[in-house]
């Protein structure tokens, strides 16, 4: 079994199925400002100890002092380790003196001097500026690879490599692992992703994984995947009370625990209030419930619930109800999923309301990824036996054509589909509610009136003809 070292950055070990394979060469690539040096120093300081010395070699991109000053901004940068178990050396200065041809020799000198278990060369790409021909480039890199593979040490080469360089530069041929750190900028929004471009002798979670940089360093949110196992079959179906008067009676077998219900409707039709009823009912029944919203902050949500006459504060203070707000401007899909499932797996959540999917969709860099994300999310809710209500906004006020009411086929993925709308009766606008789909259960197919008052929402049934 391949020995691995922990990356020290939350989520990266999970992406790399346990960590970075020991005694290999890893390239950390990415555009300027993508977080390469932060990740490198985070790995260095996380692993450093007197038994695991770390050697950090700077080259020609930035002076050594800048690494120290920059590192001081992060909590992982333990100053007490510098010079004790983390050693910085200016490799750029050494090879300027003796020539780039002596790179492998100089690195071997330093391996002998420090006997590091982890070695970083930052920036490795900057050394290319000293290489004058393709032959020299290949020879120097080959010699370095030979030197690095001779000694039991896990090496990291850091550089501002563009994607096209992966097939051109010789260091990518000698690398065992290539981690690409990317910035995705659309208008004023910026999202960061990490992708494993190459890994030898080990497995990894493929695709783009969102990450965030804070004072604690880099935190990676592994891409949510469809569960590898199916939800446990439960012979006895457990019904869930949605808390919306009249709605549960419209479904013969009720809304099942572990199911996901999509509430689709135009603006003002009552989607949010239905989601609030749903989580409040969960909290009242001792099921920890979470409302995830992207428009109103928790204070605004609490005020709305208070105005409905609900004692929200008591539910929040006992931990039965959580109002979670994420700004749709800064949000990343997998970050939200990681936070959500962190709470679910800690047993803190049994019901979830997501209001609204439109905000999540806007934070996705790719429509297919959004569809995959929602599918995986729904499957995981079923596996974890968490009952979910999601809302989505429809542009049409009065009529819905077909059952695929959402662009990315989210309605097909959900177990139940409830469509809200408006109709006019003697110049009076009335809200309507109709169940279009319930998986594994019969339902009332008629449209009914959704009444919203100072006490909340309730379904008023139309008289049977």
């Amino acid at each position: 079994m391949t020995q691995k070292i922990s990356a020290g950055a939350t989520g990266l070990d999970e992406v790399l199925m346990g960590g970075i394979p020991a005694n290999t060469i890893t390239i950390l690539m990415g555009a300027p400002g993508s977080g390469k040096t932060i990740l490198a120093e985070q790995i260095a300081f996380h692993n450093a100890s007197p038994e695991t010395p770390v050697l950090y070699l700077t080259t020609l991109a930035e002076p050594l002092e800048k690494f120290i000053v920059h590192g001081n901004n992060y909590s992982f940068f333990e100053t007490s380790k510098v010079g004790v178990s983390v050693f910085y050396e200016d490799l750029g200065y050494m090879i300027r003196e003796t020539g780039i041809q002596t790179l492998a020799e100089r690195v071997t000198d330093l391996l002998i001097k420090y006997r590091p278990k982890l070695l970083f060369i930052d920036s490795f790409k900057a050394l290319h500026e000293l290489l004058t021909s393709e032959t020299e480039r290949r020879t120097v890199i080959y010699d370095l690879a030979t030197a690095l593979s001779a000694y039991q040490c896990t090496s990291f080469l850091i550089g501002e490599y563009a994607p096209g360089m992966v097939t051109e530069l010789p260091e990518f041929a000698i690398a065992d692992v290539v981690l690409n750190m990317m910035r995705h900028i659309t208008n004023v929004r910026e999202q960061r992703f990490l992708r494993v471009e190459k890994i030898r002798g080990s497995d990894s979670i493929q695709g783009m994984h969102a990450f965030a940089i804070s004072a604690d360093g880099i935190k990676i949110f592994p891409r949510i995947l469809t569960p590898r196992f199916s939800p446990t079959y439960r012979p006895k179906v457990e019904r869930v009370n949605t808390g919306i008067k009249g709605l549960d009676d419209m479904v013969a077998e009720g809304f099942w625990r572990g199911s996901t219900t999509l509430i689709a409707g135009p603006s003002g039709a009552g989607k949010t209030i239905m989601a609030l009823h749903f989580i409040r009912q969960g909290a009242l029944q001792d099921e920890p419930s979470l409302y995830l919203g992207f428009q109103e902050n928790p204070m605004q949500m609490a005020r709305i619930m208070h105005n409905l006459g609900w004692d929200t504060e008591a539910l929040i203070s006992t931990g039965k109800l959580e109002l979670m707000y994420r700004s749709p401007v800064e949000m990343q899909l997998d970050q939200v999923a990681a936070e959500l499932f962190g709470r679910i797996r800690a047993g803190k959540v049994k019901r979830v309301a997501i209001d609204a999917l439109d905000d999540l969709e806007r934070s996705s860099v790719d429509p297919q990824r959004f569809a995959d994300f929602i599918y995986a999310l729904i499957q995981w809710f079923a596996v974890e036996n968490v009952t979910c209500m999601q809302t989505v906004e429809l542009s049409h006020l009065f009529a819905v054509s077909g059952t695929n009411v959402t662009q990315e086929q989210v309605s097909n993925m959900c177990d139940n589909l409830v469509v809200l709308g408006f109709n006019t009766e003697r110049d009076e606008l009335r809200r309507s509610v109709r169940i279009l789909k319930t998986r594994g259960s019969a339902h009332d197919e008629r449209a009914h009136t959704l009444e919203i008052s100072g006490r909340g929402a309730a379904v008023t049934k139309a008289k049977a003809k």
Binding site: N23, A104, T108, L111, I112, R115, D143, T146, A147, S149, A150, Y151, Q152, C153
Partner: protein, 131 residues
């Protein structure tokens, strides 16, 4: 210990980086180190220098490390030389079948290398004592 009293180790290795590291760590541990860059040259030097220990990579030119080991063990003049096969190849069983006295996988781990060599050296001492 003066140079001529030190235990002599013959290293068969063609990678200059490994050669340099092995020389440094073994000399620092108090051994005298000589090199051969291929298997045939190693066989000649073994007969000539009579080292106590040979550290051999399998993947060396002319005569591979395992054949070299068999040749040493088959010759009464060199059969006493203790052989440590030190290779990137996961070939411990093949090394022991070839008569090797110890096996280590690369890359070089200083502590493991010195510890293994020390064990072989103490065996050399015991075997001399019993003769």
């Amino acid at each position: 210990m003066s140079a001529d009293q030190r235990v002599l180790i013959l290293v068969v290795e063609r990678n200059p980086a490994v050669q340099r590291l092995e020389r440094f760590f073994l000399e620092q541990a108090g051994y005298s180190v000589e090199f051969a860059s291929d298997g045939l040259n190693a066989l000649e030097r073994a007969r000539e220098l009579k080292p106590a220990i040979m550290v051999a990579e399998i993947l060396v030119p002319a005569l591979d490390g395992l054949s070299l080991c068999r040749a040493l063990k088959a010759d009464a003049a060199t059969s006493h030389i203790l052989v440590l096969i030190f290779s990137h190849l996961h070939a411990e069983d093949r090394a022991l079948e070839a008569g090797a006295d110890a096996f280590l996988i690369k890359p070089l781990n200083e502590e493991l290398l010195i510890e293994t060599v020390e064990k072989l050296v103490s065996r050399v001492g015991r075997e001399k004592g019993t003769r």
